[in-house]
Amino acid sequence: MSLTTNPPPPTYGYADLPRLMSLMTGDEKHTAAATSTLDVVWTLYEAVLDVSPTTAEDPHRDWFLLSKGHGPMAHYATLVAHGFFDEEWLAGWGSWDSPLGLHPDRVLVPGVEISSGSLGHGLPLAVGVALGLRAQHIGSRVVVLVGDAELDEGSNQEAIEVASALGLDRLMVVVVDNASASYRRPGVLATRFAVQDWDVETVDGHDRSRLGVAMRQTTSRPRALIAEVDSR
């Protein structure tokens, strides 16, 4: 769908992301998580979602929910690149006066749909968002990014089952799979969704061209995209 005739062009391109991300420092532990999501997040805003700074509050916008909140750098950098907020915010992230935390707060950051950090909340929230939009006859897409280990939280299982049972065909989960889950059985990620009759596809999580095609696709079922990246 198209909301605006003239969405503002991105302020920066993909090539600017390393520099934007380098402005954020101080959370070494989470750097790998941030870069593992970079190509997925960038491609969503560049080629999939219909949302911009001017439509960030529009009831008909597409929704992106970053559930894996401990890797917000890629999201922050992408939001800056698309003009949601100023580059100047990045340098002070995590400080007292900064709206940007090591886990994002939707109340503080334009373009951030949910506050996240505790795992296993984004997908259940997304089920509610998808239900709410459908009840209002709004066909927007709802995309939620989770990590493979995050899916160990049982709350996700509740959401996976109900999303399918209630036919939430506008809902897509992107699982950024860096093989970080403990006690993981081969193929469990795809199986978790497939057994609940989700539409499931696995792609290279750094191939932006394939990611774009895969993430634009919709079917009559909720969709899970397993985006494989280097293991942690």
Binding site: P59, D105, R106, V107, E113, I114, S115, S118, G120, H121, P124, L125, A126, V127, G128, V129, A130, L131, G132, L133, R134, A135, Q136, I138, G154, S155, E158, A159, E161, V162, L166
Partner: protein, 308 residues
């Protein structure tokens, strides 16, 4: 005209919720199997906004919060321990931290289904919810107070909790939202009776020189109403009679009277598990919340005034 049987708070809630969801396209009803048969009328034609998530209470709260993010006004319902205690992080993060509003409606209260045992009891629900900001907590004392409480809660945009129990007073009272209602006058102490404990409290205080204040809403607590009802004594005497964990409202009363010398007796459900089944009346007696127990506690409290 046939005599009316006593109305059930849960049925009154369900009938009101069905009316709200069928008449207002912004209202959604989300539940987890419990009471589903009572919502059948709303499912018809409004299935997109009448949502059963099955036995999935984490999702119950999270999905309701997601509905609220899209601008709907969710009414969320199941048994009290599963609504507030089991899904507490979802309340903390998906409701409070996301800064959305919704209306929780529980049944079961402290020991409605006493024969079911501890798993289906949640005397601490209000105390737990009270660790979060911005909740209005309604404890209606009669089925006929449920409808207005629910309509008030749904018409607002904030966070509301309606705690329903099958125990109820012999009649309903009209009370301005958020206020205490003075139902008995006296000069020795102010006794605040919460929700369905008004009736045993009135029975317990017969012949005692105390004011009785009825509280169908406990958060925010009507501190101005309490202060206005205090006798002009050097040391104010206050008694709380609450159908939930004893001391649940002690903090707010203490804050309200920070500038007044006072003594506070907080009656409520004890923290220790009884590990007994039986009837709700058995539990009320065991916790000292029947008329006899309340009277004994208040009499003892007043008799110890000034003792050092």
């Amino acid at each position: 005209m046939t005599a009316r049987v006593a109305r059930d708070p849960r049925e009154t809630f369900a009938r009101t919720a069905v009316d709200l969801v069928t008449s207002d396209p912004a209202v959604a009803l989300v539940y987890a199997e419990i009471s589903g048969a009572l919502f059948a009328a709303a499912k018809e034609g409004h299935g997109d906004r009448v949502i059963n998530v099955g036995i999935r209470e984490q999702l119950l709260v999270s999905a309701a919060a997601g509905l609220a993010l899209t601008g709907l006004r969710p009414v969320v319902h199941t048994f009290s321990p599963f609504l507030v205690e089991r899904a507490f992080e979802q309340l903390k993060l998906d409701v409070n931290h996301q800064d959305v509003g919704l209306v929780l409606v529980s049944v079961g209260g402290s020991y409605d289904w006493s024969a079911a045992g501890r798993t289906h009891q949640s005397p601490a629900d209000v105390a737990l919810l009270d660790t979060l900001a911005g909740w209005t907590v309604h404890v209606p004392g009669h089925a006929d107070e449920v409808e207005s409480a629910l309509r008030t809660a749904v018409a607002d945009r904030g966070r509301h909790y309606l705690r329903l129990s099958a125990e109820q007073n012999d009649r309903a009272h009209r009370v301005a939202p958020g206020r205490l209602l003075r139902v008995a006058e006296g000069s020795r102490a102010a006794v605040v009776a919460v929700g369905p404990l008004l009736q045993p409290t009135l029975a317990a205080t017969t012949g005692l020189d105390v004011s009785v204040l009825y509280a169908p809403t406990v958060r925010p607590f009507d501190t101005a109403g309490l202060r206005a009802a205090l006798p002009a004594a050097p040391v104010a005497e206050v008694v709380l009679v609450e159908p939930m964990l004893e001391g649940t409202s002690s903090r707010v009363v203490s804050q309200a009277l920070v500038d007044r010398p006072h003594r506070l007796l907080a009656l409520g459900v004890g923290q220790e598990e009884l590990r007994r089944y039986g009837e709700p009346t058995d539990h009320a007696r065991a916790h000292g919340l029947d008329a006899r127990g309340i009277r004994a506690s208040i009499t003892r409290f007043l008799a110890t005034r000034g003792a050092a």
